[in-house]
């Protein structure tokens, strides 16, 4: 048993690091934090695409990198440690893999190159008002009319719908049989008449979530992915993609680094917080749990590297990973003392007297969603209870 990376892996790591340092510039980061968010994200993803690194998880024949599991792990780790956001997942990690797995040659040709090049911005139409973690209860219906489906209903929690060119939607094409049957996976152009995006302001006072209404939206039947009525299987395949590298170990590591840097500068009664026993113990509690999670993550990686497939155990990574993300977000926020409460994020730190409290709280607040989306942690525990422990 050992965890040493090979010489090839190490030089790969150096190459990744060098690329990130050179290309993820301060100017780009500035843009990403402000009003030019979308432009900056596309600009960054196009850089990765030009380098051939935009889709590490895709098969090489569709434009993937052909990396080993270890290389993918190194890439993700370095990205997180450098504070670089993951590529927007809806195209590259969700609908892309679904299209190359289930799509027709025409669909592949139409959509995959534009996803890789970040020419189309995608969003996800799964949840509905009221459906929550019980996805199969969805009601948005699609009725065939000639060679088009006519969609009526509403989707909710749709991240970045305000930027999107396309949406992939789960619709009900039949009410016969089990609830999971009669669901179809279809793609809609956001410019289609009858689609309306309503913003939802979240608890962090920002706008990233939306409700998307469909009023008699006519979508070509040719946009159905896979078979009509088999959308549930397509959706499940997509969720398997979503759950890889979900632990976010490197993100937590980066947060801990930021916490330590800030704690050294926060002085309480003449002593830095980093020297405060009470604070040290809280930090230690998180760090110890993280040390374990990193190796749980590596054990999953080893299984995948040996050609295995991560099973329901990946639910463990999601649960523990999101818990630790929230714990570090909370600790970083609390470092700011009174300043964690400052609402305005656009005040000059020099004038305000503090530089990260407001942003740390925003991350903490939005971070509450991590244990809710993608199958809430309660649902993840049900999955473990049923499929790992065999409890019915």
């Amino acid at each position: 048993m050992d965890i040493a990376f090979s010489q090839e892996d190490l030089s790969f790591r150096d190459e990744v690091r060098a690329f990130f340092t050179e290309n993820f510039t301060e100017a780009l980061q500035q843009k990403m934090r402000g009003k030019e968010f979308k432009t900056a994200v596309v600009e960054w993803q196009k850089k990765l695409h030009a380098k051939g690194w935009i889709a590490p998880n895709w098969p090489a024949e569709y434009g993937g990198t052909g990396w080993t599991a270890t290389q993918k792990y190194i890439f993700e780790t370095e990205r997180s440690l450098a504070g670089i956001p993951a590529a927007v997942p809806f195209g590259l990690s969700m609908v892309g893999p679904v299209i190359y797995q289930f799509g027709t040659p025409e669909q592949k040709a139409q959509f995959l190159p534009r996803i890789l090049a970040s020419d189309d911005w995608w969003c996800q139409g799964y949840s509905e008002p009221g459906s929550g973690s019980d996805l199969a209860s969805l009601k948005t219906k699609a009725e065939l009319d000639g060679d088009h489906y006519v969609i009526n209903g509403a989707k909710i929690w749709t991240t970045y719908a305000q930027y999107a060119d396309w949406i992939f939607v789960l619709v009900r094409t039949s009410n016969e049989g089990k609830r999971q049957e009669g669901i179809t996976f279809i793609l809609a152009d956001m410019k289609t008449e009858g689609i309306k995006v309503n913003p939802i302001i979240s608890i962090d006072n920002h706008h990233s979530l939306n409700e998307v209404e469909f009023n008699n939206v006519r979508v070509p039947a040719a946009n159905v992915i896979g078979e009509v009525g088999k959308g549930w299987s397509v959706a499940k395949a997509l969720l398997a993609h979503e759950r890889t590298s979900i632990a976010g170990v490197a993100d937590v590591k980066r947060n801990l680094r930021l916490i330590k840097e800030a704690a050294a500068k926060e002085i309480n009664g003449g002593k830095s917080l980093l020297e405060d026993a009470g604070f040290q113990q809280r930090l230690a509690d998180i760090e110890i749990e993280l040390m374990a999670l990193e190796f749980t993550d590596l054990r999953t990686l080893a299984t995948m590297a040996a050609g295995g497939f991560p099973g329901p155990e990946s639910s463990l990574l999601k649960i523990k990973g999101t818990e630790l993300q929230q714990a570090t977000q909370e600790l970083r926020m609390e470092l700011a003392a009174y300043y964690q409460g400052v609402l305005s994020t656009d005040m000059d730190p020099e004038v305000l007297g503090h530089d990260f409290g407001s942003e740390a709280r925003r991350q903490f607040m939005y971070g509450r969603a991590a244990t809710i989306y993608g199958g809430s942690n309660e649902v993840q525990k049900n999955i473990i209870a049923k499929f790992v422990l065999g409890l019915e």
Partner: protein
């Protein structure tokens, strides 16, 4: 032994509850928070008319002569409505300092007006470097002709945007971290050399960074004994800490009730989610967390009435437990409300943010745990 509230206390509780129900429903509060002032002056007049502003002050000042239990009752009820009008900064902090440290002339100049709702106040004690250590004070008041020259900056001053009068903590002698050498000054907010930068907090509170640039103060601006401010400050902060703990208890009760109600009506997988045993146990945990916090608050109230100083260790304990239990309660409230819980539209997140702000006020859980250890396990 008796944990009942007096008839007067029950009447005040009912009158605030009625105000929240009739005049402070969620849409009304939302509009108040979004208004330019971020508070409603008419409400403050109502508070005065109903006598709430007079309760903690002595009868000879025109007050009701209430005690810490009265203040807690008021704060718990205001908490349930997430009332943003500045009761804590004006009555408990500012009024408390003037009442305790002021001479007769200062008390007469300020308190009757405060009680009739004509004056808003604030206590300026936090500095950009100080975190929770109040004695870490760089703002200075140096002797000048006929009085003092005040220089420095205070940050995140609660109610700083609206306060007509400030009590400012400043150093008249000693080094940056010394407990001795701190003094209090009563400063009208429109005094020459006082400037404000106002901003809003996550709990909708209006605060300000306030700069003092060679502010000329007369000798009569000194509030209490020069160099000995911390005894008074400790006493007032102790009372204010209990007050926000009571407010937190009020909020925690509301969050639990709202979450419980939601789980009884929210359907997933064909049943109410409240029927899931895993969730039932978690709601039992949040119920116990609430009851435990309430119990420790009552212990503090009993000890404080014996002698305020003797309650010190328990006040630290209370702030630790409020921190821990409120995190559990607002965390579960958001989680169990699912996607709706993370919207700005739903009230849950706003109750959570007030609890977060309470946790960050007068020291967080980590800070008070250390203080508790020092007090309780001192050799």
């Amino acid at each position: 032994m008796n944990f009942d509230f007096s008839e007067e206390q029950q009447m005040v509780r009912d009158s605030i509850a009625r105000f929240v129900q009739d005049d402070y429903d969620w849409d009304t509060r939302r509009a108040i928070v979004a208004s330019d002032a971020g508070m409603k002056p008419e409400n403050w007049q109502t508070f005065a008319e109903l006598g709430w502003l007079s309760i903690p002050f002595a009868e000879e000042e025109g007050g009701f002569g209430g005690n810490i239990v009265d203040t807690s009752v008021i704060m718990e009820e205001l908490g349930k409505g997430l009332v943003v009008e500045p009761y804590l900064p004006t009555v408990v902090l500012f009024g408390g300092l003037v009442a305790r440290a002021g001479n007769e002339a200062q008390r007469a100049a300020v308190l009757p007006k405060l009680i009739e709702g004509g004056v808003l106040g604030a206590f300026a004690f936090v500095e950009r470097q100080s975190r929770f250590e109040i004695t870490d004070c760089k703002t200075s008041a140096s002797a000048a002709r006929d009085g003092y020259a005040l220089n420095g900056e205070k940050v995140v001053v609660f109610n700083g945007e609206h306060a007509d009068h400030l009590v400012v903590l400043a150093r008249t002698s000693g080094g940056q971290f010394d407990r001795d050498g701190l003094s209090l000054f009563l400063v009208p907010a429109d005094t020459a050399g006082v400037s404000k930068l106002a901003y809003q907090m996550m709990d909708a509170g209006r605060v300000a960074n306030i700069t003092f640039d060679n502010v000329a103060l007369g000798a009569d601006a000194l509030l209490g004994e020069a160099g000995k401010a911390m005894d008074v400050v400790d006493a007032v902060i102790r009372e204010a800490t209990i007050a926000i703990a009571a407010e937190a208890v009020g909020i925690m009760g509301v969050l639990n009730a709202k979450t419980l109600e939601y789980t009884k009506t929210r359907e997933q997988f064909g049943v109410n989610i409240g029927s899931f045993q895993a969730l039932q146990h978690r709601m039992v945990d949040t119920m116990m967390a609430y009851e435990q916090a309430k119990s420790l608050l009552y212990k503090v109230l009993c000890e404080y009435q014996e002698s305020p100083e003797s309650a010190d260790a328990t006040v630290h304990a209370l702030k630790v437990l409020i921190d821990r239990n409120s995190k559990l309660i607002y965390g579960e409230a958001i989680q169990l409300h699912g996607g709706m819980g993370i919207t700005d539209e739903l009230d849950i997140g706003h109750f959570a943010k007030r609890l977060m702000m309470i946790n960050a006020t007068f020291g967080d859980g980590t800070y008070h745990r250390t203080k508790f250890v020092e007090k309780a396990y001192a050799a």
